[in-house]
C-alpha cells in the first residue's frame, strides 16, 4: 500500500515493528507467568470454540435459518459495531494511538506524515488479523462454509478492508484543506450515519418485534445495505455468502468504487503533518488514562475531572487526617462519592424490585438479592480508590502513626461508599418484597463485608505481588483470595441456614467473612510500612 510514502520511511517503520515485537516476545518468554496466560488463553479459545459450535447448531435448528445467513448476521453486527465507531474517531482525529516515544522520535523525523499514520494503523492490524482468523476458522467449523470461501474472505478482509480503512484514516487525519468547521460537519454526518442504523432498527422492531428472526430481517434488509460505505461493505458480505440480489450487487460495486476513489484521494492529498498537534493531544490524554488504568484507577481517555470549591473540618490527627483529606477531595468532586458503580447498583436494585414484584420469589427473595450481590462483587473489576494513591505519596509514610491505622483511615471512605452502594442495591428490592427490617440490615452488612473482603484482598495482593504480576495477574490473585473467603462464608451460611434459620446463616456468613477479611487487613497493612512493596 503506497500512499505517497517513501520506501526509505518503510525501512524505519519496519525496523521499529520488528525490534519492538522481538524484544517484547523475548522479554515475555523469560516470565513464567506468560506460559500460564498462554495455557489459559488456549483453554479459553477451546471453550469458546466448543460452546459456539453447540450454540450455533441449536440456533440454526431452532429457527430454521440457514448457517450462511447466521454467519452473515454475525459479520454484519461486527461491521456495524466496528466501522462507524472508527469513522467517528478518525473524523475527530482521534483513535490512532501514538506513544510519547513516537512524538519524540518520529514526528520530527524526515519521514512522510502519511507514512506515520500508516505506521500507527498497522500496529492495530494484529488484533484485526486475530479476529479475522478466528472468524475464518469459525466460518468453516461452526457454519460449515467451504474452506476456499473463508480463505477468500480472510484475504479480502486483510487487503481490501485495510486499504479502505487506511485511506479513510489518511483522508480524515491528513487533510489540511478542510477547516475545523467543515470537519465538524463531517463528524455530524458520521453520527447521522450511525443514527440511520438505529432508525432502521426501530422501524424493523415496530414491524417485526423482537427475536432472532427480526434481528436477521433488520440486518439483511436493503436499507442497511444501501447506507454509504458501511452498508456497501455489508452488501458485499451478503453477495459473497448469500448470493446475488439487485441491491447487494449494485452496492458491492459502489463499495469497490468507494475503495478506489478514497485510495486515490489519500495518495494524491497533500499532508505536511498538521495533524501532529491533534495526535499529540490525544496521545497525552491516552497516556494519562493508560497510566491511571495501570494503577487500577478508572480513567477514560480525554476525560478530565473537574474540581469545585469545598472545605472540611479535620476532627482528628495523625492517620485520621488521611480520611479527612479524602473527604475534602470527594467534596470537591462533581458527584461527591458517587460514580458509575453507584448508578449501576441503583439500576440493578430497581430492576430486582420490578422483577420481584412481577414474579413471586417467595422465601427465595433474600437469596436472590444475596446472589446478585455476591456475583456483582465477584465479577466487577476492583478499581483502586483513593487508598491506592496514598501508597504513591511519600507523605503517607512520613505520618507518625501505625501502618494499620493508616490502612484503616486510607480505606475508611471505601466502606462508606460500599454502604451507600449497598443501600441502593438492596433497599429497593427488599422494600418492594416486604422483607423484615432485621433481614434487610443483615443483607446490607453482608454486602459491606463482601466489599471489604474485595478491598483488602486487593491491598494484600498489591503488597505481596504488586511488583511481580501485571494488572491481569493481580485481578486473578485478588479473585482467588476473595473467592476463598466468599466460598468459606457461603459454606458456613449454608450450614447455619439449614440447621437453624436464614438469619443465623447470614450472621455466620458475616462472622466468617469479617474474620478472614480482618486477617487479610492485618497482612495488607504492611503496604503502609514502607513505600517499597514486599514483592519489590
Amino acid at each position: 500500500m503506497n500512499m505517497g510514502v517513501r520506501f526509505g520511511d518503510l525501512g524505519a517503520f519496519f525496523y521499529l515493528y520488528r525490534k519492538s515485537f522481538k524484544n517484547r516476545v523475548k522479554k515475555a518468554l523469560h516470565k513464567p507467568v506468560t506460559y500460564l496466560y498462554l495455557v489459559l488463553a488456549i483453554l479459553y479459545f477451546a471453550m469458546i470454540f466448543g460452546s459456539f459450535q453447540v450454540t450455533f447448531d441449536q440456533l440454526c435448528k431452532g429457527t430454521g435459518i440457514e448457517r450462511a445467513s447466521v454467519l452473515t448476521v454475525i459479520l454484519t453486527v461486527l461491521a456495524l459495531f466496528l466501522i462507524p465507531a472508527n469513522l467517528i474517531s478518525y473524523s475527530k482525529r482521534k483513535g490512532l494511538i501514538f506513544r510519547p516515544s513516537d512524538i519524540h522520535f518520529l514526528f520530527p523525523a524526515p519521514v512522510s506524515p502519511k507514512g506515520v499514520l500508516l505506521y500507527a494503523h498497522v500496529r492495530t492490524v494484529f488484533m484485526e488479523l486475530v479476529l479475522n482468523v478466528t472468524l475464518t476458522i469459525g466460518g468453516v467449523l461452526w457454519f460449515h462454509m467451504p474452506v476456499w470461501k473463508m480463505l477468500l474472505f480472510l484475504l479480502f478482509s486483510c487487503i481490501v478492508e485495510n486499504i479502505l480503512e487506511a485511506s479513510l484514516m489518511v483522508v480524515c487525519y491528513g487533510n489540511e484543506r478542510l477547516s475545523r468547521r467543515q470537519m465538524f460537519v463531517f463528524q455530524l454526518l458520521m453520527y447521522a450515519l450511525m443514527g440511520s442504523f438505529v432508525l432502521i432498527g426501530i422501524a424493523v422492531y415496530m414491524k417485526e418485534g423482537t427475536g432472532f428472526g427480526a434481528v436477521a430481517e433488520y440486518l439483511h434488509g436493503p436499507a442497511i445495505q444501501m447506507t454509504p460505505v458501511v452498508g456497501w461493505y455489508i452488501a458485499l458480505l451478503h453477495l459473497f455468502f448469500l448470493g446475488p440480489t439487485t441491491v447487494n450487487v449494485v452496492c458491492s460495486i459502489l463499495y469497490f468504487l468507494a475503495v478506489f476513489l478514497l485510495f486515490v484521494l489519500a495518495v494524491r492529498m497533500k499532508c505536511t503533518g498538521a495533524y501532529y498537534e491533534d495526535a499529540i493531544k490525544f496521545a497525552e490524554d491516552y497516556e494519562e488514562a493508560r497510566q491511571k488504568n495501570r494503577k487500577g484507577e478508572m480513567a477514560i481517555t480525554g476525560w478530565k475531572q473537574k474540581y469545585g470549591r469545598a472545605t472540611v473540618a479535620y476532627k482528628g490527627s495523625y492517620a485520621k487526617a488521611l480520611f479527612y483529606r479524602q473527604l475534602l477531595e470527594y467534596k470537591k468532586n462533581r458527584f461527591f462519592i458517587f460514580g458509575f458503580y453507584t448508578l449501576l447498583c441503583f439500576g440493578i436494585g430497581i430492576t430486582l424490585a420490578i422483577l420481584g414484584s412481577k414474579e413471586d420469589w417467595g422465601d427465595m427473595a433474600p437469596f436472590v438479592i444475596l446472589g446478585v450481590m455476591a456475583y456483582l462483587t465477584f465479577i466487577y473489576a476492583a478499581y483502586t480508590g483513593k487508598w491506592g494513591k496514598e501508597l504513591t505519596k511519600p507523605y503517607t509514610y512520613l505520618i507518625p502513626d501505625s501502618a494499620f491505622r493508616k490502612l484503616w483511615y486510607a480505606t475508611l471512605m471505601e466502606h462508606v461508599r460500599s454502604l451507600v452502594d449497598g443501600c441502593l442495591l438492596t433497599l429497593p428490592p427488599s422494600l418492594a418484597l416486604g422483607l423484615p427490617v432485621f433481614q434487610i440490615a443483615l443483607i446490607l452488612v453482608v454486602y459491606v463485608c463482601l466489599q471489604a473482603c474485595k478491598l483488602y484482598a486487593e491491598v494484600m495482593v498489591e503488597a505481596f505481588l504488586g511488583n511481580i504480576l501485571g494488572s491481569v495477574g493481580k485481578q486473578f490473585a485478588r479473585l482467588f483470595f476473595e473467592g476463598l473467603v466468599i466460598g468459606l462464608g457461603i459454606m458456613g451460611a449454608a450450614l447455619g441456614t439449614i440447621l437453624v434459620s436464614l438469619e443465623v446463616g447470614m450472621v455466620v456468613l458475616i462472622v466468617v467473612a469479617a474474620s478472614l477479611t480482618a486477617v487479610m487487613m492485618i497482612i495488607a497493612s504492611i503496604n503502609f510500612e514502607r513505600m517499597e512493596s514486599v514483592g519489590g
Binding site: 526509505g8 520511511d9 525496523y15 519492538s20 506513544r99 519524540h104 524526515p110
Partner: protein
Amino acid sequence: MLEIRDLTKAYGKYKAADGVSFAVGNGEIGILLGPNGAGKSTVIKSVAGLLRYKGIILIKGMDARSVEAKKVFAYVPELPSMYEALTVREHIDFIMHAYHLQVTEEWIQNLLGRFELLDKQDKLGNELSKGMMQKVSICCALMIQPDVILLDEPMVGLDPAAIKELKQVILELKEAGATVLISTHMLEMVKELWDIMFVMDKGRIIASYRKSEVKEEDLEDLFFHVTDGENGKGEA
C-alpha cells in the same frame, strides 16, 4: 540558519506566541529565555513541527515542515520518551534508518562513550533512569550531525560530567557551523556558550542581546533587567 518570522500560535482567544520573529545564524548559539508560561515551549514545538501555526519558520531557508528541512534538523525535547521495547543501541539504529544516515560504527561508539552509554547499549527504554534517557535523547539528536539543533532544557537530569560533555559538544557544533538554539532556565549553565539571547514574555520577544554588544554584562542581570521592568532596553 534558523529563521522565524511572525510566528503566531493561538489556543482559542489565548495567544501563546504572538508575532514572534527572530533568527539564529550559522555557527551561532541562541538562547531562548523567559519566565514560566512565556511561550518558549510553543515556539520550540512549532519549530519542531509538532504544532500548527501561522507565520514562517525556515531551516536553512527551507520550510521547517518539509522533509528536506527535517533531514538537517535535530530536536532534544524537555522530557525524553523512549520506546519501551527498544534498547539504547536500537534507538540509535532506528535514527539511522529514519534519517537514512551513513555513520561508521567507530563514530557511534565514540558518541556513546562521550555520554557514558557504552555499557548501557543493551538496556531497554523502560529500564533507563530519567538522566540516562536524556543522554540517549541527546545522542540520537547528535547522530543526525544536524545543521540546526534545538535543545529544550537539555541540562535537566544530567550529571555534572554529562553537562560538561554536552557543553563541549555544543561548542563543537558551533565550530562546525551549525545553528544551535537552547531554551533553558539554567542561566549559569549557558553563560559561557551564548552568542545571541532572546527574552520572551507573554508570547512575545521582549528583548534580544548579542554577546558581542553587551560584552561583560552578566546574563542573569540582562534577563532580570527586562523581565522585572515593563520593557527591555535591548533590540527587541
